[in-house]
């Protein structure tokens, strides 16, 4: 009697990464290749980009520095718009611009702090994500441990400066993960998700702080201050108007007298 097991049951196939290629049409693919060959190469293959890469190299979630940079530019544009606004008083323009700058600084500091504090929790969730998505997670962890033990033994004989760093799950998967997956597509698809999971932390934290928490917190005081300013302006205007009205009235009275 022959029994054939099918290991590609629903569990395996749903949890192993999708081996099918992305559903791009051929034309879009060709367009992207063209963009890569002609645009990306010209835009990025230079010392400036390489210099930035050198500065963010080895940093945890380098993406956050770009988010901060983008936000700084956007804030800068708004600040510049405020400063060149002809309708506002000079002093108020400066105060508002300084306010915008301080808001940017505070929210960036808050976001960085939140991002740092979330890291440990998020990394645990990343491990859980790895366990849920990869059926042979335990095998991978074991071989990583074995490899680290070998490196530890080697490191004992070498001077501190030359010591080889131990592998963490992420770095191990990047270097040796391929051999644990069925095929290259599976591996690449999973690694994209794994990398995306890590980056999602900074993306969510910064979007939450820049685009939700701070603007919402600022709305009420801003409206209050705006109302005060408008009331003040109105009072000033009415004063002026009254003075303007009083003058001709006074002259009338005088002539009448």
């Amino acid at each position: 009697m022959n029994i054939t097991f099918n290991p590609y049951n629903s569990y395996t196939t749903s949890n192993r990464c999708n081996p099918r290629p992305q559903a791009f049409t051929g034309k879009y693919d060709n367009f992207c290749t063209w963009v890569g060959k002609n645009v990306s190469r010209r835009l990025f293959d230079n010392g400036f980009i390489d210099g930035i890469a050198g500065k963010v190299q080895g940093k945890d979630n380098a993406i956050k520095f770009f988010l901060i940079g983008g936000s700084a530019l956007t804030s800068g544009v708004y600040m510049q718009q405020t400063l060149i606004n002809k309708k506002m008083d000079k002093d108020r323009k400066k105060t508002l611009a300084v306010n915008q700058f301080l808001t940017f600084l505070l929210s960036t500091a808050g976001a960085l702090l939140l991002d740092k504090h979330l890291k440990t929790w998020w990394d645990k969730k990343k491990d859980q994500f790895f366990d849920l998505k990869v059926p042979n997670a335990e095998d991978i962890r074991n071989s990583m441990k074995q490899m680290n033990e070998k490196i530890k033994l080697k490191n004992e004989k070498i001077a501190d400066a030359d010591k080889e760093p131990l592998y963490k799950l992420g770095s191990y998967l990047e270097k040796f993960g391929k051999k644990h997956f069925l095929n290259e597509d599976d591996y690449k698809a999973f690694m994209t998700k794994y990398k995306g999971f890590g980056e999602l932390r900074s993306i969510i934290v910064f979007a939450m702080v820049y685009r939700f928490l701070v603007p919402l917190m600022v709305t009420k005081p801003a409206n209050f201050l705006c109302d005060k300013y408008l009331a003040h302006k109105k009072a000033k205007d009415s004063e002026k108007l009254q003075q303007a009205e009083l003058k001709p009235q006074g002259s009338n009275i005088k002539t009448a007298a």
Binding site: D45, V77, Y194, F206
Partner: protein, 323 residues
């Protein structure tokens, strides 16, 4: 009785616990910690299920992590950093924030709140649309160039022996023997292993070539210290390539930040008009002259109460219609 797995080498991936234990007595009773806790969890069963991780999957967080939406989100964020950031901003700034802003207590500043909500929606929509349209093809194109740049150069490929090619296809590209044979028979190995474009992104290709050179050195006889130094250099080069990839993907955000901010400001009036049915300036100014004219008319005509009420009503209706 013969039991055959179907096209699947389960000795490497899905071993029975008994097999695994016999092969590695050290790991027989060891459990692997899940989420940092020393939970005892079983090995992977033959059917591919993980018994113990089912418990983890049933928690609220586990359900989120397993959901297809989250799966898609991680994939999207891995592939398109800026667009995924814009997508989350779209949800927060385009939906959650306007709702929260309008729901804030205080009736006096209703128009200001609506204006703030309109600005928020405009920035959310503009940010997502603009970022996605511009960065998505650029991301895919850059990724394509990166993957191509990380391959061996054509010169390197020529130096490889037949055995080395087989080894690379098996280890790095996870191919079966059948596929490898087919690949070699059809002379496709070069297409797979070597770069398509020699004129790729040089900052990546030169570093990859250096890594390959160092790896060839590693195969020779070296002292432990030399070996460690070479490995360190390889790690540094690899991390630089990784950083370059992140930079390529994200630096575009700086380029599009200024036009995006300008377009956001331009998009506020149509959002206020079509979503909130309010036009900034007009909405506030129109009732003022209406009221004054009605009062003037009332005073001048010295009409009865009924007619003035009728006037007020009709004028208010008129003002409402204009909004």
């Amino acid at each position: 009785m013969n039991i055959q797995p179907l096209n699947y080498n389960f000795t490497r991936k899905h071993r029975l616990k008994s097999d695994y234990g016999q092969a590695n007595p050290n790991y027989k009773n060891k459990s692997v910690d899940l989420c940092g806790q020393e939970n005892k969890r079983g090995n992977i069963s033959f059917s591919g299920g993980q018994e113990q991780s089912v418990a983890a999957a049933n928690t609220f967080m586990g359900k989120i992590l397993k959901s297809s939406t989250f799966d898609w989100l991680t994939k999207f964020s891995g592939n398109h950093n800026i667009a995924s950031s814009a997508l989350i901003s779209l949800f927060l700034a385009g939906f959650l924030r306007p709702a929260a802003t309008v729901a804030l207590p205080g009736k006096k500043d209703k128009d200001d709140k609506i204006y703030a909500a309109g600005h928020s929606m405009a920035s959310g929509i503009m940010g997502f649309g603009f970022s996605t349209i511009i960065t998505s093809p650029l991301d895919t194109g850059s990724h394509f160039m990166l993957e191509d740049g990380k391959k061996r150069s054509k010169e390197d490929f020529k130096q490889l022996s037949q055995d080395e090619i087989r080894k690379i296809l098996a280890e790095e590209y996870r191919m079966d023997e059948k596929d490898i044979q087919k690949c070699i028979d059809e002379n496709n190995a070069e297409k797979i292993i070597a770069r398509k474009f020699d004129k790729g992104i040089k900052k990546i290709t030169t570093r990859t070539d250096r890594i390959n050179e160092l790896q060839r050195k590693l195969k020779g006889t070296l002292t432990d210290a030399e070996r460690a130094a070479i490995k360190k250099e390889i790690l540094s080069l690899e991390s630089r390539i990784k950083a370059f990839d992140v930079t390529m993907k994200n630096v575009v955000d700086w380029g599009i930040a200024i036009p995006r901010a300008a377009l956001t400001i331009a998009l506020i009036p149509p959002i206020l008009k079509y979503v909130f049915h309010l036009e900034k300036g007009k909405g506030k100014k129109t009732p003022v002259p209406v009221e004054t004219t009605s009062e003037v008319a009332m005073n001048a005509a010295n009409d009865t109460q009924g007619i003035s009420n009728f006037m007020k009503k009709s004028m208010n209706d008129f003002a409402g219609g204009q909004r």
